[in-house]
Every structure is written in C-alpha cells, then in structure tokens.
C-alpha cells in the first residue's frame, strides 16, 4: 500500500519532467501551473507515504537506504515549496522534479527496502539528528539546482546563444542570491544535524564523523569564499553541484555502512 503511494508520487513528478522535456523540445518552454500542481501533488503522496511508514515503524522512517532516499526526496520537495515562490516557483520545479524522480526511481527499483528483522527502537535524539541532516541535504540539493540554473543562464549569456529557457530563467544576480541563501540555510541545518549527532547516546563510527565533517568543511569553505568575495559566482555555482554530489555520496556511505554493521 505505502509503495503504491510512492509510485503515484513518482508519477506526478515524472509528469512534470515529461511536460518540461516536451516543451523544451518544441522550443516553447513556458513554466506554468501544471508543474507546480504536479509537484505539489507528488509532495502530498510522499508525505502520506512517510506518515504511513512512520506509523508502521513507530519512529521516524529512516531505518534503511530506501527510506533515506525517500526522506531526502521529500526534503528537496519541501525546501522547494518553501523557497520556490521567491525564485520563479514553476521554473525551479522543472529542475527539481528530475532530481526527485531520480531519487525515488532509484529507491523503487533498487532492492534496498530491507526491513530489519527486529523492530528498531525509537531514539528521538538520533531521529532528530538524521531528519535535520536530511532537510539540510534538501537545501543543498536546491542550492545545487539553482547552481545548474545559474550555469545554464551564464553559458547562454556568454555564448550569445539564447534558447527558449533563457527567457524563463531568473536573472543571474537573483539566482546567485538564491544560491547564497540556500547554502546558508543548508549549512546551519547541517551544523545542527552534526552537533546533535554527538548527543545521541550512541558511539559514532569514526569514518562517518570524518566524512560528515569533511562535507561540512567543504560547505564552510564555499560560504567563506562567498562571504569574503574570493570565489566568483560561477565557481560557487559549480561548487554547489560538487558539494551536493559529495554529500550524496557520503549519505549513501553512511546509510550503507549503518545498514551493514549496525542498526541505526
């Protein structure tokens, strides 16, 4: 039942992706209400899935890689819903939907929805640590998406080849402001997430701690470069993509090792 909700949710996001792809192919990309509605609907089904799964588990549904991917996709959609209106909602949705489809599609296809043989006991501080960190990942994902949008816009301006999408992307300076704010939001949440990890009452694997701090340092360096105006906007946009890729790899590593070695 809960997987059906997830399939419906993925279909909603996929509809937004297909519509955007068709429009871009026809050269008449025009963000409209459809994308927003499709993503909104997809988000509702995601929420319903997580809620049902959470009730069944009796805790925050973050017990395996499958649930982590879905929670991450939900965080991306959530942050998009929160910040999208300020930065051309429907257009950012056109970039957000493919990422959500990728995450949910992978989760649905790969055999990673492994249930623990024994019921995992609830641990509020661990759940807080995991969920806040994942919402931070959502903000980093959106910063990554805004970074892609920035690079697309910048490239077209440099080459003087202005495609249909150019006229629907936000101005460069607005995109850069969005990137900066999303980076700050993600960084603050991630800091809270990491700090709360030390108060879970469980010993933390050394490798996970080092990797998490490495990602934290990477984002700290990006923000420091931005704050002191040492890194140009184009490089910050590119670093957002690199940073999120690194964070995603780390997330997979953490969840995978937690799943194979111990119960989270």
């Amino acid at each position: 039942m809960d997987r059906d909700l997830l399939i419906i949710s993925t279909t909603c996001f996929l509809a937004a992706v297909v519509r955007t792809a068709v429009a871009l192919r026809a050269g008449v990309f025009r963000p409209g209400r459809f994308n927003f509605l499709a993503i909104g609907l997809g988000f509702l089904f995601q929420t319903a899935f997580l809620s049902i799964r959470g009730h069944a588990l009796g805790r925050c549904p973050l017990t395996n890689l499958f649930e982590v991917f879905i929670f991450l996709a939900w965080s991306v959609a959530l942050i998009y819903m929160l910040v999208g209106p300020a930065y051309r909602l429907s257009l950012m949705g056109a970039f957000t939907a493919p990422l959500v489809v990728l995450l949910q599609g992978l989760a649905l296809i790969a055999p990673i929805d492994v249930r623990h043989p024994v019921k995992v006991p609830a641990n509020s501080s661990l759940e807080f640590h995991a969920s806040v960190s994942l919402v931070a990942y959502g903000a980093f994902a959106l910063a990554c998406i805004a970074g892609v949008m920035y690079l697309v816009q910048e490239r077209q301006l440099k080459t003087h080849q202005l495609r249909s999408i150019f006229y629907h992307l936000p101005p460069l300076t607005d995109l850069f402001t969005a990137i900066t704010r999303l980076l700050w939001l993600g960084f603050i949440l991630y800091t809270v997430g990491i700090a709360s990890g030390f108060f879970t009452g469980r010993p933390l694997p050394h490798v996970q701690v080092v990797a998490a701090i490495a990602v934290w340092l990477l984002y700290a360096a990006i923000l420091q470069g931005r704050y002191f105006r040492r890194i140009p906007p184009k490089q910050i946009a590119a670093l957002c993509i690199i940073g999120f890729s690194a964070a995603l790899t780390l997330l997979w590593g953490i969840t995978f090792s937690a799943q194979t070695h111990s119960v989270p």
């Binding site: 050269g27 202005l162 105006r229």
Partner: protein
C-alpha cells in the same frame, strides 16, 4: 448584416498613401453617414483599416472617400488603383484576430498593435459607433491576442538592438534601479540605449566623452552626470553596465587594462554593450570571469534569433486564431438565429455563415 474590413497597410501601401487615408477624428461618424450601422477606424503608422457592419453593401470607394484627409477627392474612376484590401465575414474576423495578435505587423509578434486596437475600440465606443456586432468581434479579438501571447512564443525576446541590450541587462541584473551605468561616447545610438535603460529604472548614469562639452550636454539631456574622459577607467570599478560608442580606432578596453579594474568586484557581473564601429572593446574581454560583452553584431544576432523564433510560432498562432474564428462565427450565427426567431425574420440556413452574411 454585412461585416467587413477595408483598409491598407504596410503590405499594400507606402507611407505617403497611408498618410493620405489616415482619417480624422470624425471618420467613424462619416462612415455611419455612408451607410455603416457600426464602424471603427484603426489607424496606426503601419495601417489604416475600417471595420464595419452594415445592412447594405458599402463600397470600398465610399470608405476610401470617408477616410481621405482634408476633403481631398479620391479618383473614383480608378478604384482598382487604390491599394485597399477588403475582407468580409469570416475573412474579416480572421484578419482582425491576426492584426490584434501581431501576426500582420511589420515586426511579427509586436504587442503595441494590441494597445492601439484597444484604444481605437475605446474611442469608437465612446463616439457610439460601435454596436453589438463590433463589440463582440473586438472583445473576442482581445481574448485571442492574449491567448496567442500566452500559449505561443510569438512575443519572445526583443527584436531591435536597443531593446535587446536592455532586455539582456534585465536578464543579468533583474531590477535595474540599483545599476550604475557609464556611457562612453556621446553618440546618438548610445543616447538611445541610455534612454532605454533609464526607462527601465536606471537612475545612476554617467557620461564620459572626449569632448567634455558634448559629454556634459548628453548628461544634461538624460539626467546623468558628466565624467571627464581621463577618469572613465576608474569608473569601471563601480559600474554595472558600460555602453561604449566612441570613434576610437583602437580598442579602449582590453583584458589587460580591464583585469585590475575587476579585482575588487568578483561577485558583481559587468555587462558591456559595445555599439562602436570599429569596436571599443577587445572581444577577448568576453572570456573574462563575470564579464558579458555584446557588440553590435551580437546584439543583432540575438534580435534575429528572437525574430526567427517568432516566425516559427506563426503556425501555432494561426491554429489558435482558426479555432476562435470558427467558434466566433458559430456563436454569432446562433445569436442571429435566436434574434430571427424573436423578431420573426427568416433564420440563417445553417450554423456556419455564408460570405458577407452575418
């Protein structure tokens, strides 16, 4: 009731001829006197058209006579020589929808024509020359124009060099209110571009010219501030947009001299509009981080790209128009049948309208 459109446009007549028939404020009243039950004159720099509805057929010559300025007498014996076109019923509806949507304009997809059509409608309505037939027709035309604009890319981008430059500035900076602009050279083109930027909110404008007097004159005209020519490089550290149009034989701005100026503005883009020939800015400057250089050819190329996209969209726009023409004719013939049932006049034979009968 005959619904018709008689007119001339940039397709059929030169500007001199269009001027002759530009009509006067009282044209609609004259047209009504000539037998039109309803009449509306749409006169712009590219077209003079009369949209009318009449019980009996009104000839093209009669309409032309009404439109002539200053009591001039038209050559009635040579009506075929007049560059007028005449559309009736379905063709008339289709023509108006195309005109309002900008498909018949000199620059395809321009939106000014819609405003002009609305103005003409408002004026004719105020004078009482518009009745139910033209009212419905024009209301539908406005709806069609809006739909065409929303559902196609017919109005995408800018198609003139000046507006492309301003459009690009907005794509880089968003709101232009906080942008600082330096105009290098006091030529006519740079003045036009500067004015276009001012019209979009730019308030901090500086002018630098070799001849200080001309620079000051331009600064005064556009409400800017004159800067001596020797000091323009320092300005590059502060400004966001540079319009270069001097008559210098060698490039004034190269990566070598621009590099140090950009050192303290890593996070602020610089948009350079080089409209000088020969160019004032070395093309290699475009390779620099955060610098977006558009010379006259690049601006023209963007304008042409936009125009090409607009042309590609004509088919989609025509499809929308065709749907509306069919729907409009069906609705209006239904209403005519309804009216005939009430008044006892014979009804229209079928739902579609025959030429010249509405």
């Amino acid at each position: 009731m005959n619904l018709f459109c008689i007119g001339l446009s940039h397709h059929t007549a030169n500007v001199e001829t269009r001027e002759r028939f530009a009509g006067g404020a009282g044209s609609e009243c004259t047209l009504r006197a000539a037998g039109c039950a309803e009449a509306l004159v749409l006169a712009t720099c590219n077209r003079v058209e009369v949209y009318g509805a009449s019980e009996k057929r009104v000839s093209t010559e009669e309409i032309a006579q009404c439109l002539l300025q200053n009591g001039e007498v038209s050559d009635r014996g040579h009506s075929t020589a007049l560059p007028f076109y005449r559309y009736e019923a379905e063709k008339c509806v289709q023509h108006l929808f195309r005109v309002a949507s900008g498909l018949d304009s000199m620059v395809v997809g321009e939106t000014e024509i819609l405003g002009q059509t609305k103005k003409a409608y408002k004026s004719a309505r105020a004078s009482g020359a518009v009745g139910p037939c033209l009212h419905r027709l024009f209301q539908r035309a406005f709806r069609v124009a809006k739909q065409v604009r929303t559902h196609t890319e017919i109005t995408r981008g800018s198609v003139s060099v000046g507006s492309v430059a301003v459009d690009l500035a907005q794509r880089i900076f968003g709101e232009l209110g906080n942008c600082k602009v330096l105009v290098l050279g006091a030529g006519e083109t740079s003045e036009r571009t500067a004015r276009a930027l001012i019209s979009r909110g730019v308030s901090d404008l500086r002018v630098s010219n070799r001849s200080n007097d001309r620079g000051q004159e331009l600064a005064q005209r556009v409400g800017g501030q004159a800067v001596s020519f020797g000091k323009w490089p320092q300005q590059c550290r502060e400004i966001d947009i540079l319009i270069a149009s001097t008559s210098s034989e060698t490039p004034l701005l190269t990566p070598t001299n621009l590099g140090p100026m950009l050192a303290n503005r890593v996070d602020r883009p610089l948009f350079i509009i080089d409209i000088a020939v020969p160019r004032d800015v070395d093309p290699a400057v475009n390779e620099m981080e955060g610098v977006y250089l558009y010379d006259i050819d690049a601006l023209r190329s963007v304008a042409e790209q936009s125009l090409a996209v607009r042309r590609q969209q004509i088919a989609s726009a025509e499809a929308i128009i065709a749907e509306h023409v069919a729907d409009f004719l069906e609705k209006i013939s239904y209403e005519l049948n309804r009216v005939s049932r009430i008044t006892g006049h014979p009804p229209v034979a079928d739902s579609s309208l025959h030429a010249s009968q509405l």
